[in-house]
Amino acid sequence: VPILSTEDELIRRAQNGETDAFCLLAQAYERRIYSLAFHYCRERQDAEDLSQDVWLKAYAAISSFRFESGFYTWLRKIMINCFLNHRRSKSFNWRGEDNVVFDDSEANEKGAQERPATASIELTIDNRLVVERVMQALSEVSSQQRLIFLLKHQEGMTYEEIAREIGCSTGTVKKSVSRTVSRLRQQLGVSDESKNYISCAATGILS
């Protein structure tokens, strides 16, 4: 309850034009928004631009927030609209669905430096391989299917909520999720016959 009241207070202050209050609100959710933006457009610079556009639009529309829903629910609607509009805009240099632009070498290098010295090189390589394959699987589906999967998998939204927000049928949402999961399984080499690989990879990442 205190967190909610603090958030409400920050929202009210932001509605009165206090930018600092809105920055505090943004600080609470910026990683979540950025993560979705990055997995959606799969490029860091685009992800930063896209996520910050979400925040700028939210700031411009904060006076219209009526406390009828949670702040993040309201923010997520803005985010989805922003993502869909971003995809439609001509200025957006959208990466081809087949060309995966995933450069996580810097992050992995820094991450490797921060990891304990006991982490083996093989484990790091396995993790990176799994991450690349997951990103490859996400790149092989359409942007809408990817967004639906992210909203379901990362945001935990129901099929009905996703369908309402995206503006499609529940059946389309189910098919999109099923198709993306199928791609993931193909990329990770999980089939009815072989299940050992995924178990090893999962153990590696989770360890």
Binding site: S35, H153, V181
Partner: protein, 237 residues
């Protein structure tokens, strides 16, 4: 009764917590009885868990967020400053401000839109059309009334006495043969009156072409024949 095909079609929903609790429990109990379906379910759960971990692992380092937040704060400050500049515009000269406010209000009025349900809109349009029709009709009547008055024709029935013509027929018998003869002797023989002879002898006295007749000296015959004519002279046979 367990059906592998049916169960596997719902495994994704089960793994993504999309099924109701009762249905999920039922499916999980079914999976215990089918090793293949259970294995399929576990592999699916693994895929989802690994992909979740993989996606999380792609997030930037902690050092990234300070710069990200600074850039976001900067953009928000710029946006806020732009908004404040918009709000500072009222410090302009009053006349300009008033004009701009009026212009803005006018624009707002012109560009304002109201959402109306289609039936209400249709009813309003119909109402406007009816009013317009009657307005045009009444306007036409006003135009007729305001025009210069046309000459009015009043028809009155007046009884006029009609004078019925009476045809009076008078029959005058003259001795034309004796009057026209130039010889006075003949006339004397015939016993005409001297005045009549005189008038015949002196035609100048009757130069105007009119015949002055007098009944002086006229002797009526002994036999009088009366002829009664009914109607006009035209009916005379």
């Amino acid at each position: 009764m367990h059906n592998c095909k049916v169960t596997r079609s719902s495994l994704i929903e089960l793994a993504m917590n999309e099924l109701p609790a009762a249905r999920a429990g039922e499916m999980l109990s079914e999976l215990k009885d089918c090793a293949n379906c259970q294995e399929e379910y576990f592999s699916l759960r693994s895929v989802l868990r690994v992909s979740e971990q993989a996606l999380e692992s792609t997030l930037p380092e902690e050092s990234f967020w300070s710069g990200y937040h600074a850039r976001l704060s900067s953009r928000l400050e710029n946006l806020s400053a732009a908004d404040q500049q918009v709000h500072l515009r009222p410090s302009l000269p009053t006349a300009l401000t008033l004009a701009s406010r009026l212009w803005a209000a006018l624009r707002q009025i012109v560009t304002a839109s109201v959402r109306i349900p289609v039936p209400v809109a249709a009813a309003l349009v119909l109402l406007a059309a009816v009013f317009g029709f009657f307005a045009l009709r009444s306007r036409g009547q006003v135009i007729v009334n305001s025009a210069p008055p046309a000459p009015t024709v009043i028809t009155r029935t007046i009884e006029v006495p009609v004078v019925q013509e009476k045809v009076v027929t008078r029959v005058v018998y003259l001795e034309r043969a004796r009057r026209r003869s130039p010889a006075s002797g003949e006339s004397a023989e015939r016993g005409d009156s001297p005045n009549l002879a005189k008038r015949v002898a002196d035609p100048g006295a009757n130069a105007e072409g009119t015949t002055a007749m007098s009944l002086i000296g006229f002797k009526p015959t002994e036999q009088v024949k009366l002829k009664v004519v009914k109607g006009s002279y035209r009916d005379e046979k």
